[in-house]
Symmetry: C2
Subunit: 396 residues, 2 copies
């Protein structure tokens, strides 16, 4: 299958591109290297050393004999070039990771809020319009987020995979209606993924585009079998307050003797997935697209749920670290249960990678190996969700 | 009250600015004159002759002694200037009409689809971010559309004002949840108003912005008491296939001896409001804002519902015209009932203007007076909603 991976230089995009190439697909990465630019802006880097795209692809070719193409292109700003690219390459499918993906970054300031909305909405809409305009029957797989659902909205029912059937009262009695799960975004970043959902619904109805939306949990881990092949293929490991995800941040904090920073009580339950499963889920979604005229296919891309403080305690024990409770910048419930429907990937053969000592140790070893590259001044999240909120003090 | 009217040069914005000024509010119009630019692009003009903004405001001042300010500014592209304007003027409220508002135009081609999304989403988001960033307690009134709801979704229940309470099944029995009415947009234009709704919800929750969304029906009529004061204050009368709304198009078609163009069977029932009521509704919404911390306040801004073919027959009889049934470009039900909740404006004192022979004659007289300005080649809608659809033939 000929596949474009939009955002193929990022934390999820890069291992996905390698995984799909390894699985025999003909992959071209489209990326404007914006993730590297944001590193420059934030004056922080991946804990793991990330090589230039040209070198990454050269090494992959040397090791596997497989070519991956690369086009440096801004999806939000360079529509015409993107549409031409579709006509030239005529791909069977597009995997769309090409969006600003950090919630704290999206709340950082006025510029970041506007960039996140402008970039993400335009990128997604341009992809949809270009597919329609090309006249090609290209299936689209998009990375969404569990954050579109919010937490606790469904009561004791599991969060469904995208849709739920509700009863609507009418003078003639209740009628059943299937609705897209109501949107409850907790940040501007999450908000953009709820906007994406409406764009997808419209183009699935109006133009019969074949679209899959993957509502992913928090990703942990760094390496996949492909990125482990050579240090020059290594994946990102973000530990900073904006881009670091919670489990990786804990591992890295422990590795450098920093207290594990838990926001609020840590009673928030969240859904997780290992990066190895991210890439397998994307492949499954790609190989099982909806048919023309189908509604948008939604999968919950998660394998486990944990309470944040339980994760902190796990890592504190594994690596002999302390825990520090900081103010929580987010408007969210202090404690929540979380029950997520995740049958669709299981039915399609996903055998999930669960949080295990072995994998935690692998991640810990990466944190230990590269800990000298860490800038401890970047660990605390500085984004203020709303007026009047304080940021946390430095702890080291 | 100090009020900014964004999009105050347009069909709804201009009479609203005059009405609010007449009612004693201190009005400043913000507009990039994009509606006039689109006229240039489409090679068509308002049937009524529209004067330059400077002249319009000079005449208003001469006749009433009232000043209306004007700032030529692009909301989507000139964020910094807009934020500065808020800090300088410190308005109490903003009325936001600053979006591309024609469904057929939004489906015209790739450029128009992208422009509509990019312009509307960025304009709305910039307004929200600027209010937050200014730190001012500015109430926002936004013009939405009945088209966010779709038609027929609620069965025999009236379309509610924004929200509905549904029953969600859980293992512990059904639970009641209030949801924003699910989005069922029929065009890219309507889609942008569903995106706006999610932006509003988020900023009402996260930043306690005070926001009112007015889901307006199809506007008919041209003049308000203020725009009638002098020909140089006259309001737009759009008759073309992109920007003309159905009733005004019928009146103008009849005035020049063109058949009344009904798409499909004309069995679509739609909600209507006279432009005189639009401006009064906006004033009522402005003077009854939500409190800080309230959810977004949603009004259905409609006064009557009609079947399109009944309107066509009414005008055909009034003006001795023929009716022509053309293919319908929209993916919509051939026939639908429509029952709209519209209690909130009534409770706040709106005494609705209903479709009456007197007002139809006023509108007919405008169409007759200016009919020589019409370009008959612009009457047929040319936008193709989806691949494979044909446009209608010219009829004259």
């Amino acid at each position: 299958m000929k596949v474009l991976v939009l955002g193929g230089d990022g934390f999820c995009g890069w291992p996905t591109a390698l995984h799909l190439s390894d699985a025999g697909h003909d992959v071209t990465i489209v990326d404007n290297l914006s993730r590297r630019e944001i590193d420059l802006e934030l004056e922080v880097e991946s804990l793991t050393p990330i090589r230039p795209m040209g070198e990454r692809l050269r090494v992959w070719k040397e090791l596997t004999g497989k070519d991956i193409g690369f086009v440096n292109l801004d999806l939000a700003e360079e529509y015409e070039r993107f549409e031409r690219l579709l006509r030239e390459l005529s791909p069977d499918a597009i995997v769309h990771f090409g969006e600003q993906r950090a919630a704290p970054y999206s709340m950082r300031n006025t510029i970041a809020k506007r960039y996140t909305v402008d970039n993400n909405v335009r990128a997604t809409h341009n992809v949809l319009v270009a597919i329609v305009s090309s006249g090609l029957d290209i299936a689209l797989v998009h990375l969404g987020t569990m954050g579109v659902y919010g937490y606790g909205w469904s009561g004791s029912a599991p969060i469904p995979e995208g849709y739920l059937t509700v009863k609507v009262p009418t003078p003639d009695g209740d009628i059943d209606r299937e609705i897209l799960h109501p949107a409850n975004p907790g940040s501007v970043y999450h908000l953009t993924k709820t906007l994406d959902q409406l764009l997808f619904s419209f183009y699935a109805v109006n133009d019969q585009l074949r679209i899959t939306d993957l509502h992913q949990g928090i990703v942990w881990g760094t390496q996949t079998p492909q990125t482990s092949l050579d240090e020059r293929l290594i994946n990102r490991f973000d530990y900073d307050g904006d881009y670091g995800t919670v489990l990786n941040r804990f591992l890295m904090q422990a590795a450098i003797g920093h207290p594990l920073t838990v926001h609020g009580t840590g009673g928030q339950t969240r859904a997780f997935i290992h990066i190895r499963d991210t890439v397998r889920c994307v492949q499954i979604a790609l190989e099982n697209p909806p048919k023309r005229g189908d509604k948008v296919k939604v999968f919950n891309q998660v394998t486990e749920t944990y309470r944040v403080r339980d994760l902190a305690e796990l890592i504190a024990k594994l690596m002999d670290a302390k825990i520090a409770n900081l103010p929580n910048p987010r408007r969210e419930a202090v404690e929540n249960e979380l029950n997520v429907a995740r049958d669709k990937f299981s039915e399609l053969g996903l055998n999930p990678t669960v949080l295990s000592e072995g994998l935690l140790e692998e991640a810990r070893d990466i944190a230990l190996k590269y800990r000298d590259r860490a800038d401890t001044s970047k660990i605390i999240a500085r984004s203020v969700w709303r007026a009047g909120m304080e940021t946390s003090p430095d702890l080291v």
